[in-house]
Structures are given as structure tokens and as C-alpha cells.
């Protein structure tokens, strides 16, 4: 009891500390001062009256949302004496693996830089700055020569690293036993099984209405859809983050989605935010980074070639170029097992005073990175809002998909969850694929790393991301991956090679996500 209490007070203290530095705090202060002029505020009961005022005017709600937001992002309470690395990642071997992976990436980046004799960063001449400013809304028309650039790494390189992860304390032994992992991931992390997932994702059950199932044209809207939309509008009117998060577990109506996501992520477009974005834009104009070329290349290779996202090409540049200069992103490294790469001013290698984070936001883009942003363009059209939403999505969820950690939503756990689900509930399929050299994870890895962006139809993807936000977890990606295999099991049983298996699973654009998830979790005989 005492431990819990001290944990709680520790958490409260930390949240208060965090919020004190935020914009909201100064706003509340201002509001409190302004409220003194109101007749209902009396000196004798100052504290209660101001609290009452906050409640009525909706400021308490805003504070509640901010606290809730912090709680969602805040790592699980740990021992007060734990060093900060434990907040990033408690397991030593994972930290080491992440460290060496980062070294490799940085080496690759540096060697590309030396090979091409391009500086990591340079100031743009004034003429170039003007040109870029004019072209800001149509950077997609630029055709710079990117043939010499290669993406720093691709998801399959990352997969190889994960496959080689080993816990030095864990003796696998050479002989097969019931403890042997038959999949690619060989680390013993705790993952949920279907009964636990059923409990966790209870709102996806067969008896609960879902958008993505109960709003199809054959179902009369009076049964579920109309009521659901009405509740959604109410949630938005109340501006309650926690309620929105609960609501969205059943899916978000198309018209309300943009606002609901903003509410859940606690994004409100204040003038300061727009100003901040403009500042980032100025940084882009003034300085050219090597990473920019990587971003250009990635957008041209992936999003521009996509049948649906090609339209949003310009927005992608506007978001990603600013993102790489945003130093506020550095704060998420407190709970990310990754650390921002450091670079040194020319000639001062090793001297800490001359170290800078590179890129400024500490995130090196990889092949397919721009696909995290593309679906958001569907919902947000104002660049600074789009930017804020993406940044928040990244520091809450997406970073976990390409860093090595033991977190239940981390990519390692997702891979293990996927393999375990398949092995446990579709053993024949799993065994068959393994025998023909088509380990299932080799196919599903790229889906999960991209959170299925670019593989599913956009409306289905958005329904899936609704649930990611609703459950504040990425585990649903692994469940969906397993559900897709289950759905195509009959065809997969007939293939005899990895290439053929890839072909069966090449096109997911016709899949309906929610029925697949529902059937896999709630309607399969276990």
C-alpha cells in the first residue's frame, strides 16, 4: 500500500513538473488572474471559487486532458532509484543491441556523406533560400539528382538485427524442447495470448457495435451507426480526451475523425504552435541537411508511387523536412530505448563541447518513413496542424516500431506476439511455412514496421489507427498480421516457396480490417 502511494505521488510530482513548463500552465495562471475580477470569486473562499470557475469554463477539462495525455505517454512507474537508462529500456542486452544498431546506422550515414562529399549540414545561399521559399508549396516538382543517395536502412536490415537478438542469461540449448522458439525472434518476452487479448480488446467483441462492420451498406444505420455518431458529437462537445479514447475503440465516424484524433492526442492549434511550425519552416529554408535528400528520396520512392498518396507529395515534404529540425522531439528519447546520434563539428571529433545531435530531432529516416505521414494527409490539410498530429503520433507510437526495446508495444514484442499467435493457433500453417523456408515474420514484418500504411486501403487503415489510439497500444498490429495469415491460410498451405507465399500476401488492399480482427479474436475455436 505504501509503495503504491509513494509511486503515485512520485508520478504526480513528475507530471506536475512536466506541466509546469508547458503553455497550459501559463494559460491557467492567466485565466486565474483574470477570474479575480468576476463577481462570484470571493476572497474568503478563493481557492474553491477559482476551482469552480475552472470547472465551468472548461479549463479543468483542458487540464484533465493534459494530465491524461501525460499518463498515456508516461512510462510505467519504476523504482525511484532506477537510473534514467531504465526508463528508456530496463533490459541491458536490449540497450546494448540498440546501441550497436545505432552505431551501424551512423556509420552508414557518415560513409555516404564522405563518399558523396556532401556535408551533413550547410547554410543555403540567399538566392537558394528565396527559391525554396517560392517553391514551398510545390516541392514535389523539384527533381534533384538523388541517384547517388541510398536509404540508410530498410526494414529488412532491421529485421536481421532483431533475429540475432539474444538474451545472454537465457539458455536455449541445442535440443528442441517446448521452450524453443520456432519463429525468427529468439528472445523470451512476455506476450499476450488470445484469452488475454480478448480481455484487452473487449470492445472489439461480437456483441459490440463497430465501425468497419456495423456501418456497412446492408446494415440499417438505426441499429448502431446513428447512435454512435451522436455519441461522438457529444464527446467532441465535451472536449474530454479520456472519453474520446474510450469512444474511438469502436471506430470513428469519417466526419469526426480529424477532431477526435486531435482531442485524444491533446493537440489544439494555438497561435504559438503555428508560430513554432513557421520557425521550423524558416530553419528548413536557411539550412540544408543531408537528411533532406534522404527524405526526398524516400518520398519519391514510396509515397509518390502510391496510387492514393501521390496527391499529398508536397505535404509530406512540408512535414518531414520540418520534423527533422524539431529539437522538441529530443525529449521523447527519455523513454525511447534509442538515443539521438551525435555528430561533431568538423575537425573536433570526440570533443563533447563540439557535439551536436544530428539530425536536430535525432531521428534518422529509413526506407518507408514517409508512409507514417501519408495517411494523415487525408485528415488534416493545414500544414501546422498536420505537423503537430504527426509529431505526436511519432513520439507516442511510431518510434516503437523501429527501436529495439522490451516494451509490449515495441517492435520486438510485436514480432514475438505475431509468431506466438500463429504458432499457437495455426500450428499447421506455421509449420508448413517454416518447412518451405517462408518464415511468416519475413512477410509480415514490413506491414508492422509501417503500421500497415500503404498496404491497406486508406479507409481501413484509418479504422485500424483508430484502435491504436483507442487502446494506446500497437499490439493490434501483430493481431491483424496474424489474422491476415489466418484468412489466407488455405492458399498459403498450397505454396511451396517464399516467393509464392509473398505473392499470396502481396495485395492487402481489399481486406476489411475489423471483421478479420473480430473473427480471429472472438470467433476462432481455440
Amino acid at each position: 500500500m505504501l509503495q503504491e502511494e509513494s509511486d503515485l505521488s512520485l508520478m504526480i510530482a513528475q507530471i506536475v513538473q512536466k506541466l509546469k513548463g508547458s503553455n497550459l500552465y501559463s494559460q491557467l495562471e492567466r485565466q486565474a488572474w483574470a477570474s479575480l475580477q468576476r463577481p462570484e470569486i470571493k476572497l474568503e473562499s478563493l481557492k474553491e471559487d477559482i476551482k469552480e470557475f475552472f470547472k465551468i469554463s472548461g479549463w479543468e477539462k483542458k487540464l484533465q486532458n493534459a494530465v491524461y495525455s501525460e499518463l498515456s505517454v508516461f512510462p510505467l512507474p519504476s523504482h525511484p532509484a532506477a537510473p534514467p537508462e531504465h526508463l528508456k529500456e530496463p533490459l541491458v542486452y536490449m540497450r546494448k543491441a540498440q546501441g550497436s544498431w545505432e552505431k551501424r546506422i551512423l556509420k552508414s550515414l557518415n560513409s555516404m556523406c564522405t563518399e558523396l562529399s556532401i556535408p551533413l549540414a550547410r547554410k543555403r545561399p540567399v538566392g537558394e533560400q528565396k527559391e525554396l521559399l517560392n517553391k514551398w508549396n510545390e516541392m514535389g516538382t523539384d527533381e534533384p539528382d538523388l541517384s547517388l543517395f541510398r536509404p540508410v536502412y530498410a526494414p529488412k536490415d532491421f529485421l536481421e538485427v532483431l533475429i540475432n537478438l539474444r538474451n545472454p542469461n537465457y539458455e536455449n540449448g541445442d535440443s528442441l524442447s517446448f521452450r524453443t522458439h520456432l519463429g525468427l525472434i529468439q528472445v523470451p518476452l512476455k506476450v499476450k495470448d488470445i484469452p488475454e487479448l480478448k480481455e484487452c480488446f473487449v470492445e472489439l467483441g461480437l456483441n459490440t457495435g463497430q465501425l468497419g462492420i456495423d456501418d456497412s451498406t446492408q446494415v440499417p444505420p438505426e441499429l448502431f451507426e446513428n447512435e454512435h455518431v451522436r455519441i461522438g458529437q457529444k464527446v467532441l462537445a465535451e472536449q474530454d480526451s479520456a472519453a474520446a479514447q474510450q469512444y474511438i475503440r469502436q471506430g470513428s465516424p469519417t466526419a469526426l475523425r480529424a477532431e477526435l484524433w486531435a482531442l485524444i492526442l491533446n493537440i489544439s492549434s494555438e497561435p504559438e504552435d503555428v508560430l513554432y511550425y513557421e520557425q521550423l519552416k524558416t530553419n528548413v529554408i536557411q539550412h540544408d541537411l543531408l537528411v533532406d535528400s534522404l527524405i526526398y528520396k524516400d518520398v519519391k520512392l514510396t509515397a509518390s508511387n502510391d496510387d492514393y498518396y501521390f496527391v499529398f507529395e508536397d505535404y509530406l515534404y512540408q512535414v518531414l523536412l520540418c520534423f527533422s529540425r524539431d529539437t522538441s522531439v529530443l525529449s521523447h528519447f527519455a523513454y525511447n530505448s534509442a538515443s539521438p546520434p551525435k555528430s561533431y563539428i568538423r575537425g573536433k571529433l570526440g570533443l563533447e563541447e563540439y557535439a551536436v545531435f544530428y539530425p536536430p530531432n535525432g531521428v534518422i529516416p529509413f526506407h518507408g518513413f514517409s508512409m507514417y505521414v501519408a495517411p494523415l494527409c487525408f485528415l488534416y490539410h493545414e500544414p501546422s496542424k498536420l505537423y503537430q498530429i504527426f509529431r505526436e503520433m511519432y513520439v507516442r507510437f511510431f518510434f516503437r516500431l523501429h527501436s529495439i526495446s522490451s516494451h509490449p508495444s515495441g517492435i520486438v514484442s510485436l514480432c514475438l506476439l505475431f509468431e506466438t499467435l500463429l504458432q499457437t493457433y495455426l500450428p499447421q500453417l506455421f509449420y508448413h511455412l517454416r518447412e518451405i523456408g517462408a518464415q511468416p515474420l519475413r512477410i509480415s514484418f514490413k506491414w508492422m514496421v509501417r503500421a500497415f500504411s500503404g498496404y491497406l486501403a486508406t479507409d481501413q487503415l484509418l479504422l485500424l489507427w483508430d484502435r491504436i489510439l483507442g487502446y494506446n497500444s500497437l499490439e493490434i498490429l501483430a493481431v491483424l498480421a496474424a489474422a491476415v495469415f489466418a484468412f489466407r491460410a488455405v492458399n498459403l498451405m498450397e505454396v511451396t516457396s517464399l516467393a509464392a507465399a509473398e505473392a499470396v500476401l502481396a495485395d492487402l488492399s481489399t481486406l476489411k480490417v475489423m471483421p478479420l480482427l473480430q473473427i480471429f479474436l472472438f470467433a476462432t475455436v481455440t
Binding site: N137, E138, G140, T141, T217, T254, A255, R257, A258, S304, N305, D307, Y308, F310, V311, F312, E313, D314, Y315, C377, F378, L379, H381, T458, D459
Partner: protein, 413 residues
């Protein structure tokens, strides 16, 4: 002068004077070597006839029609894919004339409000015949942009934008000069149309919508609307600064294909479903519903305007490709109607759409006599107009004017 023989030439053709027996193979003929050929070849019970053979079904092109329709005798069951004088609807100058006439008639019969429903066509003038009227309108609205389109060409050929009368003075001089040299070639008729300067943009790009309407007869008017279609994007960002840049303003794939930005893999098309979802997430379902109702109105009014003019031969049916432009106020405008919409596929997705479109067209044409005639939906086609509005609800339509009459269309759904 002997008529040149080619594979389209039917000659003094008569289909042999017997009624087609039920169950006998259906003989089809077409000149097109694309999706249509695939669909026809795969249809069970249909066989291709070559050259001079008799046919029960002919997907012809308009030039053959022009030359041969009038002296081709067709049995009762025979079907052909065009109406004799479809150009009343598909040639821009005729369509404008018919629409204007229809509008006047509506105003007389039903009042200004009803006539205003015909205002989906940007102000257009035939040149050179209406040149003076055009100049009057031009002077009333200085500084706006106009677009000049040749009446009978397609795929974006010959189109240009202008803002000053000087620009067309020069053009007029050029065409006059060329007339002096080549007497055989007639002066091409052009229309000058008010250019829509505030198109709805997605990702900074202009687009138009291609929608398919199948007309089985004009008297009575029976028209079907296909649920699928697509939005065609221009590859470059929209700006009014460069009216000379064809690639910015003309969204036909034929034009876009020649743009230096064109990447064939992209296809630059969105399926209508995707478009509808995008709009709904931006403007809400109600606004989208209104937009699509307005588009239904365009299809029906345009067909009604030529109903009395087109020779409604029972052998004829026609699949039209409507080009619609949406402006920033979510108002749809009719750009043109195509009698021979492109059936070549630009991507796998496109191929599937056109295959299904053509298969369903053949289902509606119903050479196999399988339909009862009471269907409101056949495949992807919804019966939009059956000598009167068709309601989504069951039972007789509520024509009292109030209430929840919802047209039986599901475009993009």
C-alpha cells in the same frame, strides 16, 4: 467513288432475315482491341464474327455509324452501341444549344427556380457564329479567364486558355490564313467557355471526375448510373499564373501522359469511392450528399434536354462518359459528355473497373434476355431514371415533392 473496304465495313449488310433463336450463340463484332475485346471474348455464349459476317451485337465506333447506320437493316434483337445522332449531346456546340433551349422551356413551364437547375454548364458561345455575343459577355467580365475548345476533338487536343481578346484575334487570323491555303478543310467550330477559376483542389492539384451513364432509350428515357468512376488529377499544382501550361489545367490522361512529370506507375487517378471518403472526412457527409444529388441532377437534365432531338432507335444504347468539375463551393459543373469514353486501361485497378463496367453494360443490354425488366440495380449500375425519377425506397415513388425522396443512385459508395 468506291467506298474503301475495311474491317468495319458492313457493306449492304443485312443480318440474315431470321429471328435469333434463344440459346444460339450471340455474334458480336467490335473494332476496339482493348478491355472491350477481352470482355466480349470471355462472355459465355458469345462468338466473334470477322469481316463480312452477320452480327447480333456491334460495339462500333462513331465513324462507322455515320457512314453505315442509315442503310443497315437490323433485326429486332440486334443491338448497337451508339445512337444515330448522339452528337446532339456530345458535341459541345450542339449540347449547349440543346441545353439553352431546354432551360428556356423549363422556365416557361416551371419557373425560374426549376430552370436554374440547368445552370451547371459554364457560359459558352459558339464561334465563329456567336462571336459578337461572346465579345459582349467578354467585355462585361474583364480579366476573367476563358477556355477555347474545338467542338469535335477529344483527349484535350486543340484547347487553350486566354484572357485577352487579342489572343483570339491572333488565332482567328491564323485559322483564316490556313483556310486560304487549304480549301478542302472546313473551318473548325470552336466554343469559348468561361473557365472555372476556382476549382476544388486536392493536394494543390486540379482534378475532374469521370462518371459513366448508360442510356438504354430516350423515349421513354431510361438511364443507368454506374457506381464506380474516377477522379483524374493534373500532375502539376494549380495556379492561374500560367494559363499557357496545358499540364496544369487539362486533366485528361492523354494530355497528362505527355507531361514531364508524368509517371505511368502512378496513374494519377483516384477511384470515386476514395474521393467520396476524402470529401466526407473534410466536409461531412451532408455536404457530400448534396454534391452527389447535384451531380444526379446534371445527368438527368442533360439527358432530358436532348430527349426530343435524339432519334430513339430501339436497337441503340449508349455508354456515356461524363466529365464533371467541382469548384471550391462544392458545386459540380458539366465539362462535357463523351460518346466513346476511353476503354483502354491505364493500370490494373483501371482495368478491373473498365472490365466490370463493360460486363455490367452487357448485362443491362441483356442480349440473353435474362432480366425481368423490374430491376433497379444490375451489377454496378443503378437505374437512375425510368421515364421518371426512381427512388431508393421500395414501393411507388413519393412524388408529392416533400418527404424523403432519395434517388436510386450510389455513386462512389
Amino acid at each position: 467513288m468506291s467506298r474503301p473496304k475495311n474491317q468495319n465495313y458492313k457493306g449492304h449488310g443485312l443480318s440474315k432475315g431470321k429471328e435469333r433463336e434463344q440459346g444460339a450463340p450471340i455474334r458480336f463484332k467490335t473494332a476496339l482491341m482493348n478491355t472491350l475485346m477481352d470482355v466480349l471474348r470471355h462472355r459465355p455464349g458469345w462468338v466473334e464474327v470477322k469481316d463480312e459476317g452477320e452480327w447480333d451485337f456491334y460495339w462500333c465506333d462513331v465513324s462507322w455509324l455515320r457512314e453505315n447506320f442509315d442503310h443497315t437493316y437490323m433485326e429486332e434483337h440486334v443491338r448497337i452501341s451508339h445512337f444515330r445522332n448522339h452528337y446532339e449531346l456530345t458535341r459541345k456546340n450542339y449540347m449547349v444549344k440543346n441545353l439553352k433551349r431546354f432551360r428556356k422551356q423549363l422556365e416557361r413551364e416551371a419557373g425560374k427556380l426549376e430552370a436554374a437547375k440547368c445552370d451547371f454548364f459554364p457560359k459558352t458561345f459558339e464561334l465563329p457564329s456567336e462571336y459578337h455575343l461572346f465579345v459582349e459577355e467578354f467585355r462585361k467580365n474583364p480579366g476573367i479567364t476563358w477556355i477555347m475548345k474545338p467542338v469535335a476533338r477529344s483527349q484535350g487536343k486543340g484547347i487553350f486558355l486566354f484572357r485577352r481578346l487579342k489572343d483570339i484575334m491572333d488565332w482567328r487570323k491564323d485559322t483564316r490564313n490556313s483556310d486560304d491555303q487549304k480549301d478542302d478543310i472546313p473551318v473548325e467550330n470552336y466554343v469559348a467557355q468561361r473557365y472555372i477559376e476556382n476549382p476544388y483542389l486536392i493536394g494543390g492539384r486540379k482534378f475532374d471526375l469521370r462518371v459513366y451513364v448508360l442510356v438504354m432509350s430516350y423515349i421513354p428515357l431510361r438511364a443507368w448510373l454506374y457506381r464506380d468512376g474516377f477522379a483524374r488529377f493534373s500532375n502539376t499544382r494549380f495556379t492561374l499564373n500560367s494559363i499557357d501550361d496545358q499540364y496544369v489545367h487539362l486533366t485528361n490522361v492523354a494530355v497528362q501522359k505527355t507531361s514531364p512529370d508524368y509517371h505511368p506507375k502512378k496513374g494519377s487517378k483516384w477511384m470515386l469511392q476514395r474521393f467520396r471518403q476524402y470529401l466526407a472526412s473534410k466536409h461531412g457527409p451532408q455536404a457530400v450528399e448534396t454534391l452527389f444529388r447535384d451531380m444526379d441532377n446534371i445527368f438527368i437534365k442533360s439527358l432530358q434536354s436532348v430527349q426530343k432531338v435524339i432519334i430513339s432507335d430501339k436497337h441503340c444504347f449508349e455508354l456515356y462518359g461524363y466529365d464533371i468539375l467541382i469548384d471550391q463551393d462544392l458545386k459540380p459543373w458539366l465539362l462535357e459528355v463523351n460518346a466513346s469514353p476511353s476503354l483502354t486501361a491505364s493500370s490494373q485497378e483501371d482495368y478491373e473497373l473498365k472490365t466490370c463496367l463493360l460486363e455490367d453494360t452487357l448485362h443491362v443490354v441483356d442480349m440473353e434476355a435474362r432480366l425481368t425488366g423490374r430491376e433497379k440495380r444490375v451489377g454496378g449500375f443503378d437505374l437512375m431514371w425510368n421515364d421518371g425519377p426512381v427512388s431508393r425506397e421500395e414501393g411507388p415513388p413519393d412524388l408529392s415533392g416533400m418527404g424523403n425522396f432519395v434517388t436510386n443512385t450510389h455513386l462512389g459508395m
